[in-house]
């Protein structure tokens, strides 16, 4: 039996949520739903009114799909792994040096104030053929002209894209992990020190395991982000293969409207990967929290 108290609470809860939820449901999940329906071949505007899985089949059978998936995973995995390791290490570095480290407050603002596009611009100006580094190499005499500098943009190795993501994501990981580490440190650091643990032992046995949920969550977020990102691979990616989001977009803007369901199929697959990833992170986090709290 629900008492009056509960039902009043429920009512208030729904009432307060309604506007925000309406916006998300209508403009966001609505868009997702349309994309889903179109991926099943339902697109009445151009007279397609049948539900079918053939576009899924078509995407799966296309050899470009696997290559594109691989390319996207390649970018996301490497950038996430490196950003996570660097970010965690930096967080620990700041933990050991902060109240006196003015750099920290600087790094606090940078990731927020610099959009990905600007970050991309900066990295391109530094590392492309014709960038500052290549000019430096010419000056030093290691290469005769900037065009001899190894290409990292528009390439299959995608090093340029990965570096852009790392530059942007390391501060993000650092801040997320630092906050948690600081809490742990103030709570348990002294206790561990009185137990005669060395700095390394404290880090390995106390700080690192306890901040693992935030590390995992930060890396899940940056992975999902880079996996679904469009602008930078579109601008700086290889001509072949494309990342999945870019491939989806090219199908989307195709003059041939019947390519649109293919775009939506790819979209669904990207969303699926992101969702599954966040879900796995959520599960591991729950298990972890049970263990540690």
């Amino acid at each position: 039996m629900l008492s009056k108290f509960v039902s009043r609470d429920t009512l208030k809860g729904y009432l307060y949520l309604a506007p925000a939820l309406a916006v998300i449901l209508f403009f966001f999940l609505g868009g997702f739903l349309i994309a889903f329906v179109q991926s099943l071949g339902y697109f009445p505007v151009i007279g397609m009114e049948e539900f079918t899985l053939k576009y899924y089949k078509e995407v799966f059978q296309n050899p470009e799909f696997l290559e594109s998936l691989q390319y996207t995973l390649h970018i996301s995995f490497i950038s996430t792994a490196i950003a996570t390791v660097f970010g965690t290490a930096l967080a620990y570095f700041f933990l050991k040096t902060t109240p006196h480290n003015p750099l920290f407050h600087f790094i606090h603002k940078v990731p927020i104030a610099v959009p990905h596009l600007v970050a991309a611009l900066m990295i391109v100006f530094i590392l492309s053929q014709g960038g500052i580094i290549s000019r430096l190499f010419v000056k030093v005499g290691w290469i005769t002209e900037t065009a001899d500098f190894p290409a990292i943009f528009y390439t299959q190795n995608a090093i340029g894209i990965i570096l852009i993501y790392i530059w942007k994501e390391v501060p993000f990981v650092t801040l997320m992990v630092y906050t948690v580490m600081k809490n742990i440190h103030t709570k348990l650091g002294e206790a561990a020190a009185t137990l005669k643990a060395s700095q390394l032992q404290v880090f390995c046995h106390v700080i690192l395991p306890l901040s693992m949920p935030s590390i995992v969550s930060a890396s899940a977020i940056i992975f999902a982000f880079s996996f679904g990102a469009f602008e930078i691979p579109f601008l700086l990616g290889a001509t072949y293969p494309k990342t999945l989001p870019v491939w989806a977009y090219l199908n989307f803007i195709s003059v041939d409207l019947s390519a649109r369901p293919l775009a939506m199929v790819i979209n669904m697959l990207v969303s699926l990967v992101c969702t599954v990833l966040i879900f796995i992170y959520y599960l591991s986090m729950r298990k972890y929290l049970r263990k540690w709290s």
């Binding site: 039996m1 629900l2 008492s3 009056k4 108290f5 509960v6």
Partner: protein, 352 residues
């Protein structure tokens, strides 16, 4: 006419009754203490009076006007919470004037009233400080001042002293009593501290799992508890089942002559530990062996096994006795109260 009348008030949280059919009348200018173990519904009852919580059933009148449907801001009642909840972004003066500002009282009047309250609370010159700059005792005074600035008909205090250390507690208790005497304000005080209730209250209302067991003056609550639960809430009690008959209290092994009593039948005698004196072994008295000995303040507390009963006795001169000694009990029957033999039928539901 009573200031507050509660009739059949009932409140449940998620199906668990917190307050069950409580009826209570609180007199004008009275200080009533609501007492009970934690989770018995004291705070819920206070919130029902304040209007913060709406009752599921029942009615409430304040000053002869039914306020059952009124919200807290419409009732002429102010509550002081256990945590003092001074707004940290406002100065002491702004905190005290808060209620007046909400009611759009002109600034000049607010300033006057604030000054008056600061003097009343013996906090002059602190008006410009922020709450974080005050001591715990000062903060609680400001919280009181903020409530009193509204000149409410009824003041509700939810454990106002429980977060203070003993010395400050004594001070603030005296202050509350003084204010209560001076302002003649109807006050309801929630506390789990029986001594506090005994010292401060004109009457005490005892709550047990959401039900009102007894409402009476402190001395009566102590001497004539209406139920076993009331008795044990106000001191250590030995409960001895027996039969009241022909001016005697009969247990399996003993018969005691007791003062004339109205009722008879199967009862439970509530013998307070301080009303048992220890004597040399005597034939016609309950006699047993000391099992345990402890000290509390200047008193000794003894556990004495008599047959299959264990008595707890308390007194000043028990220091010389040792565990194992044979003693007899000398019970002051004029101080013993009797309650119905069967337990109070309190639901074993938990609350709040």
């Amino acid at each position: 006419m009573p200031k507050i009348i509660l009739k059949e008030m009932t409140k449940a949280y998620e199906g668990n009754p917190a307050i069950a059919r409580v009826s209570l009348e609180i007199e004008d200018g009275e200080l009533l203490a609501l007492v009970g173990h934690s989770g018995c519904g004291k705070t819920t009852l206070l919130r029902l009076i304040s209007g913060l919580t709406a009752a599921d059933q029942g009615h409430i009148w304040i000053d002869g006007v039914e306020v059952t449907g009124q919200k807290a801001e419409e009732r002429d009642v102010v509550m002081v919470f256990q945590e003092n909840l001074l707004f940290p972004h406002l100065t002491v003066a702004e905190n005290i004037a808060f209620g007046l500002k909400m009611q759009k009282v002109p600034r000049k009047k607010r300033t006057e009233k604030t000054k008056e309250m600061l003097e009343l609370m013996q906090l002059p010159n602190l008006g410009k400080r922020y709450p974080a700059e005050l001591s715990g005792g000062q903060q609680q005074r400001v919280a009181l001042a903020r409530a009193l600035a509204l000149e409410p008909k009824v003041l509700l205090l939810d454990e106002p002293l429980s977060n203070l250390d003993p010395k400050l507690r004594d001070e603030l208790r005296e202050l509350i009593l003084r204010l209560h005497r001076e302002l003649q304000m109807t006050t309801v005080l929630v506390t789990h501290d029986r001594d506090e209730a005994m010292m401060m209250a004109d009457r005490i209302a005892v709550l047990y799992y959401g039900k009102l067991l007894q409402v009476d003056q402190p001395v009566n609550i102590y001497r004539y508890p209406a139920a076993r639960e009331v008795a044990s809430l106000f001191g250590q009690c030995n409960f001895i089942p027996g039969l009241l008959k022909d001016g005697e209290f009969q247990t399996e092994d003993y018969r005691f002559t007791v003062p004339a009593l109205k009722r008879g039948g199967r009862v439970e005698a509530c013998i307070r530990s301080e009303h048992i004196k220890i004597a040399r072994p005597q034939e016609d008295r309950p006699t047993g062996v000391i099992l345990e000995k402890k000290y509390l303040g200047g008193q000794g507390i003894l556990k004495i096994g008599v047959g299959n009963l264990i008595f707890v006795a308390r007194g000043n001169n028990y220091f010389d006795l040792d565990i194992g000694n044979q003693v007899s009990l000398d019970i002051d029957w004029s101080q013993v109260s009797f309650t119905k033999g069967d337990h109070f039928p309190g639901d074993q539901t938990s609350c709040g």
